[in-house]
Symmetry: C2
Subunit: 202 residues, 2 copies
DNA sequence: ATCATTGTTGACCACTTGGACAAGAAACTA
DNA sequence: TAGTTTCTTGTCCAAGTGGTCAACAATGAT
């Protein structure tokens, strides 16, 4: 088996944190190693370069979030509740970030994706794959809502994309403003956008 | 008067283009100078550093866009038409970018803003100021629409922010996907989001 | 115990980076 | 014409960059 170590996990965690707090381009390999308490030699033992680490860190983060997402979007909950709970969850996360690290950081996927998409095809592809994952959660909730009649129409795929765009736009704006308060109404606006029967109730 | 030159304008233009196509962090002072065909010494004659150039370039770009924006959002046009025309204009711009440079570039303000907002307060402030400019255009159109009865409610400020979030989210997603086609329905979704009386007509 | 595997260390390198600078060139002014 | 201001040029530098490497250390297998 050889020597064991959690250096790889520490690198993934450090990269995720630094890139989210700053940006992909602003974070150097040295800085990642410093935060992970790992020598640069070890870095290159585990990863070819920063780009590969970023992709791995996106995947690790996605995997780590699965339990929470699966619970929130579980079919045990009424479809519109799933969305409301998801948005509330995001709002709480961003508020917590603001309190703990001083910044509303927005969405790590979109931050990174929009930064490097014209220059790093691998990261771009990975971001797109994970974005699709989120949209599928949205879509299934919307479809179920449409089937039970709490949302109009039968275009769940389209509406999921609209909603996701609004969601990401709001997150990015919150990041730039460094103010999470506008995210409180994410769920209410979502109902509006979806043409929900109980619109503006929440 | 001393020696005259358009090097400053060339630098502004080069910076705008490079940062938009790539990202703030990926663009070096050398690269900007190369594209602008200006020596580095001249760069530092006009600007203190890259950050200051970026701010100046945002401002120059905003000024240059004013005539078009003023016309689109002129009170001569019916309020909902203003929004429809604006979104159509953006769609055409992004399609043109895709054709001419190979990439859908999204919004220069949000791209830059979300990248540097935690590390460069001056750029962040400038981005916020210009964002506010766009939202004010939205708000005035929405308010006029509400007054003439084509949009429900009296919360123009709020709705302008919702719409802007959706708009920016869609732009960023188009950038990451490198596909402008989803921006075609910007206007239609906007009517939906605003609770417009003639929703989905366009 | 020895051995292959796997992870660690820190020195090392070529290259790029932002930025300073002094000398010169172009324009306008007196 | 001489002088002043503004812009240009090319060189130079210290610091930081991504990335390599060979020697070393821990682990489990035989």
């Amino acid at each position: 088996m050889g020597r064991v170590s959690d250096a790889k996990e520490r690198l993934l965690e450090a990269a995720k944190g630094l890139i989210w707090e700053q940006s992909y381009g602003a974070v150097t390999v040295d800085a990642i190693c410093r935060r992970a308490k790992v020598q640069k030699g070890s870095f290159y033992h585990f990863f070819d370069d920063k780009s590969e680490l970023a992709v791995a860190s996106l995947e690790a983060d996605w995997q780590a979030r699965q339990p929470v997402l699966a619970e929130i979007f579980s079919r045990n909950h009424p479809p519109l509740d799933r969305l409301q709970n998801f948005f509330e969850h995001v709002y709480q996360c961003q508020k917590k970030l603001q309190k703990e690290c001083g910044y509303v950081l927005g969405c790590p996927l979109f931050n990174l994706g929009s930064e490097v998409c014209t220059r790093d095809e691998k990261i771009r592809k990975k971001v797109l794959a994970l974005v699709k994952g989120y949209i599928r959660y949205f879509e299934s909730a919307i479809r179920d809502a449409q089937e039970e009649g709490s949302v109009a129409g039968d275009n769940a795929g389209l509406k999921a994309r609209w909603l996701f765009s609004y969601f990401e736009g709001a997150l990015t704006q919150a990041r730039i403003e460094n103010d999470a308060s506008s995210l409180r109404s994410l769920g209410a606006v979502a109902l509006h956008l979806l043409d929900a029967k109980l619109a503006m109730a929440a």
